[in-house]
């Protein structure tokens, strides 16, 4: 069985016939070649696959592509215009909020989700909001600093 879906990703509409078991993260990476969204633990824990779906952060490894039919999705590629850095991306750069970078797209989408509802979060609120995003390189100190810095700059 295949199911026809229509999804808006980063402002562009896409129509595809998909297998019902296709996960959203694989739809984004393999059907649309948007490989900025990473596959990490595949068990809803690490958050590397975080994207925004109709304004809310979700783990795209735990959604089926058919569930995204009619939805509007933002991935790391769509956060800012081509060639420009989103204020959160700039802040992660400035504050060295990454080491290997694997968790970064998910971290930035999760942070964007937080700032959308709480534009000036305290440190504990930032740490709480990152509960679903794991960094295995170096800890969270500079990630938190980067989000604080982006919030101060009005991200």
């Amino acid at each position: 069985m295949s199911v026809k879906i229509e999804v808006e990703v980063n402002g562009t509409r896409h129509e595809r016939e998909v297998d019902p078991r296709l996960l959203l993260v694989h739809f984004l990476r393999e059907e649309l070649s948007l490989t900025g969204t990473n596959v990490g633990c595949e068990t809803s824990l690490c958050g590397a696959c975080t994207v925004k779906m109709d304004g809310l952060t979700v783990k795209s490894c735990t959604q089926l592509a058919v569930q995204a039919d009619g939805a509007s999705i933002t991935t790391i590629e769509g956060l800012s215009p081509e060639g420009e850095l989103h204020p959160l991306q700039q802040a992660f750069w400035d504050e060295h909020g990454l080491q290997c970078g694997y968790c970064t797209p998910g971290m930035i989408l999760a942070a964007e989700g937080l700032l959308a509802v709480n534009p000036s979060p305290g440190e504990s609120e930032i740490r709480e909001s990152l509960k679903g995003n794991l960094c295995r390189c170096t800890g969270y100190h500079n990630i938190v600093k980067a989000i604080q810095s982006a919030a101060k700059g009005g991200a």
């Binding site: 078991r21 809803s44 979700v58 783990k59 089926l64 509960k131």
Partner: protein
């Protein structure tokens, strides 16, 4: 990890979902997918057909006004985020909002639903004991119409509920917290998964300095939520002080078959339940008095 092949049908009404469940063998309901999809990826569950109820507006939302006798209705498709941030629940049934806020992480709360959560009936989940402590009622729709089940009778075994194969949870009805009452949900969570190693849900009504009514239930310590009715029966009408809580918990908390696994033995979970049960009662009292 990929789920096994399956068919997919999108229901346009709760009645159609029930009809589709009846017409397809080995069909499963898909709501937020946050219990089902992980099970499918691990091949612990290989449905032949998914019936997607995720878009049914009739099953969504928290009632702003009381229905009937001081109760609130919560649509089964309400997400944990919607429940945690609902002003109505935060002010009038804060125990549920407090527990929903402690589920998983923001992304999981954005998609996971209360109906899916209780239908999955994971013993380490946060909502089952909360609904038991609240005295919630689960409303169900099936081929023979509607029926209702009290929360303690809904959870029948590990990952097993009183739902018949072709039935769906439509709404959860919770009582409004009475005046002079307080509640608390405290948990020891597994550090990686966030699931409850032990979760204690308590409510208490205080008059003067006495406890006039209380309820206490636990997640994570047995196959189904443990409803500590003997503990709260012993507390009714007594002075609401820490020593009374300790005495009641120590004397009356009985967990017949505690659940043990590689994370925590049954014996350890019982020890946690005694401590966290007491602390949840203390916090519920403090909130009732504040």
């Amino acid at each position: 990890m990929f789920p096994a092949k399956c068919d997919y049908y999108r229901a346009t009404s709760a009645a159609e979902a029930i009809d589709l469940l009846g017409r397809h063998d080995n069909a499963r309901l898909l709501a937020g997918g946050h219990s089902l999809i992980p099970m499918m990826k691990l091949r612990l569950c290989e449905p032949a057909a998914l019936i997607d109820i995720g878009r049914l507006e009739e099953l969504r939302g928290v009632s702003e006004n009381d229905i009937g006798d001081n109760a609130l209705r919560i649509g089964a498709l309400s997400t944990h985020t919607e429940i945690a941030t609902s002003e109505t629940l935060r002010t009038r049934c804060s125990l549920l909002a407090e527990a929903a806020r402690q589920i998983g992480d923001p992304q999981v709360r954005n998609k996971g639903t209360i109906g899916g959560n209780i239908a999955h009936a994971d013993p380490a989940s946060d909502l089952p004991a909360v609904l038991v402590a609240l005295g919630a009622t689960i409303h169900i729709l099936g081929p023979n119409g509607e029926r209702s089940i009290a929360a303690p009778s809904f959870f029948t075994d590990l990952l097993t509920t009183a739902l018949e194969p072709n039935e769906i949870v439509t709404t959860i009805e919770v009582p409004v917290a009475p005046p002079g009452s307080g509640s608390a949900y405290l948990k020891v969570e597994h550090p990686a998964s966030g699931y409850a190693v032990c979760g204690a849900a308590a409510t208490m009504t205080i008059e003067g300095s006495s406890c006039t009514a209380a309820s206490l239930a636990f997640n994570g310590v047995a196959a189904t939520p443990v409803h500590a009715e003997a503990v709260t029966a012993a507390l009714a009408g007594t002075a609401a002080d820490d020593s009374a809580f300790r005495a009641a918990v120590d004397a009356h908390l009985e967990i017949a078959e505690p659940l043990g696994d590689l994370h925590a033995s049954g014996e350890y979970r019982v020890a946690l339940a005694k401590v966290y049960g007491r602390r949840a009662l203390e916090k519920a009292r403090d909130r009732a008095l504040s």
